[in-house]
């Protein structure tokens, strides 16, 4: 009987590999998951995507995608061989960078067929219910859990057999504070995103079934963010509190990441970025003209097709043109605040490591 060694590094590698495969599947299907009159982040006439030219662009994109992903995989394996298993965490970055190349080339091919979207904008004047699933009580849950976890450690002390480095004697208090702070920062940015999804998203449709569908999509994204908050909190508590055998339980929750990502992708793809699965009631367009609606933003405000930048739009979040979920309007200061907070958690950890290890290095 062949015995497969169960090792932390294997679990991390398998999880990251699984997420990478899911990412590749997303890039494969993504052009068909956007709104019908947005193709490779360009506003096009509605029939273009299913026309011969549109299909030919898609075919070429997919062939190029396979080539770059194979190259990315070779780079990835070489990186692991050279730098070790820690390199696996760079997988999403390498994959996204690789997939950007065929996307950009396809976009260049679509651009000559671009048309101006309708410039009609609509707003519902009566209040619309944008409730976070479970309300703010559910949203405050992770903070309460984290505070409870900190209080438990304060009262009972550190677990005697637990330490992130595998050394006996428990977690040093300084590490614990850093750990709590960085987890708090992650929760903070997720809560800010939740708030933003309720208050700072620009809808494409102000009424009708499209609006209802958009709201459903937004609530789903909110539920995913909320789920991620609970996951982060539970994992943070688990890592310190759970008794470990060779550190295995530390990463015991990692495979759950794979399941979580899978569920998220399936959910978002099913609900569609206002895209292929939106009600296709072509008659009910908000404008009587034949102009495509797209996302009602001119193409020139989408830098490289992925970065939205317009000063005159007060919205902080807009629907992604190529992707699932929402993108930031980089002309708004709030967007930069959110981005800074996203970078804050790893920054706290890196700074903490530097301040802890610098004296040793000098000694």
């Amino acid at each position: 009987m062949i015995q497969v060694p169960i090792d932390i590094h294997n679990i991390i590698a398998i999880t990251n590999g699984g997420v990478g495969v899911l990412g590749a599947a997303v890039f494969w299907f993504l052009p068909r998951l956007t709104r019908p009159d947005l193709y490779f982040a360009v506003t096009v006439p509605r029939p273009f995507r299913d026309g011969p030219e549109g299909k030919s662009i898609l075919r070429r994109y997919r062939i190029e995608l396979i080539v770059v992903l194979v190259l990315a995989f070779i780079l990835f394996v070489a990186g692991i061989a050279w730098l070790g298993v820690g390199f696996t965490s760079a997988a999403p970055l390498i994959e996204s960078a690789a997939a950007f190349i065929p996307f950009y080339r396809a976009r260049q091919r679509v651009l000559p067929h671009a048309v101006a979207p309708t410039m009609i904008r609509e707003a519902e004047l009566h209040p619309v219910n944008h409730v976070i699933p479970g309300g703010w009580i559910a949203a405050s849950g992770p903070f309460i859990l984290l505070a409870g976890f900190a209080a438990y450690l304060w009262i009972h002390g550190m677990p005697s057999d637990g330490s992130s480095s595998g050394q006996p004697g428990g977690f040093p208090i300084r590490s614990l504070i850093v750990y709590l702070l960085s987890t708090g920062a992650i929760l903070g940015v997720q809560t800010l995103t939740l708030y933003g999804l309720v208050h700072w998203v620009r809808p494409v449709y102000a009424g009708g079934p499209e609006r209802a569908h958009e709201l459903k999509f937004r609530r789903t994204v909110s539920a995913i963010v909320l789920g991620a908050e609970y996951y982060v909190t539970i994992q943070a508590s688990w890592i310190i509190l759970a008794p470990r055998h060779n550190g295995l339980l530390t990463v015991g929750l990692l495979p759950l990441v794979f399941v979580f990502v899978l569920v998220v992708i399936v959910l978002l793809a099913r609900l569609g970025q206002g895209g292929s699965r939106m009600p296709t009631n072509h008659q009910r367009l908000s404008t009587t003209s034949t102009e495509p609606v797209g996302d009602r933003t001119p193409d020139r405000y989408w830098k490289l097709g992925v970065f939205y930048f317009i000063q005159d739009d007060s919205a902080v979040f807009v629907e992604k043109r190529f992707g699932l979920g929402y993108s930031l309007n980089f002309a708004r200061p709030t967007a930069w605040l959110i981005l800074s907070l996203i970078l804050l958690a790893p920054l706290i950890t890196i700074l903490a490591h530097l301040t802890r290890f610098l004296p040793r290095a000098g000694a």
Binding site: M119, I120, R121, E122, A123, E124, L125, P127, H199, W200, V201, R202, P203, A206, G207, S286, R296, T297, Q311, D312, D313, S314, A315, V316
Partner: protein, 121 residues
């Protein structure tokens, strides 16, 4: 529902003010009701919040709204313009010709604005 056309030559703040005025004249909002906040409306329309604020200020100056800091815009009790029998006949004919009630309301408002400007000058 409020609708604006960014490609129109009419300034956006004026389109917003006209659209809101049409809603207020048609009785869509009762006195004491709140309009969306400046920020919410600006986000929904995808315009700068100063543009919406300007439209709200215009309506506040006309006596349609009361602007309260951090509380949004509250609809005020105000006399609505009433049309005479001749005007009613004219507008009924326009509706029979196929003009939508919303566009008719907008047309009426523009006439009223012109008269108001004439009176004040």
């Amino acid at each position: 529902m409020l609708r604006i056309d960014l490609a129109s030559r009419v300034p956006v703040y004026e389109q917003i003010a006209n659209g809101l005025r049409a809603e207020l004249v048609s009785g869509e909002f009762n006195p004491g009701e709140k309009l969306p906040t400046v920020r919410t409306l600006a986000i929904d329309l995808g315009v700068h919040h100063n543009t919406v604020a300007e439209a709200y200020r215009q309506l506040a100056n006309e006596g349609w709204l009361e602007l309260r800091r951090h509380h949004g815009a509250i609809v005020l009790e105000r006399d609505r313009p009433e049309a005479g029998p001749d005007t009613m006949d004219r507008f009924t004919r326009r509706l029979a010709d196929g003009l939508s009630p919303r566009l008719l309301a907008r047309e009426m408002i523009e006439i009223a604005q012109r008269l108001e400007r004439k009176a004040t000058s």
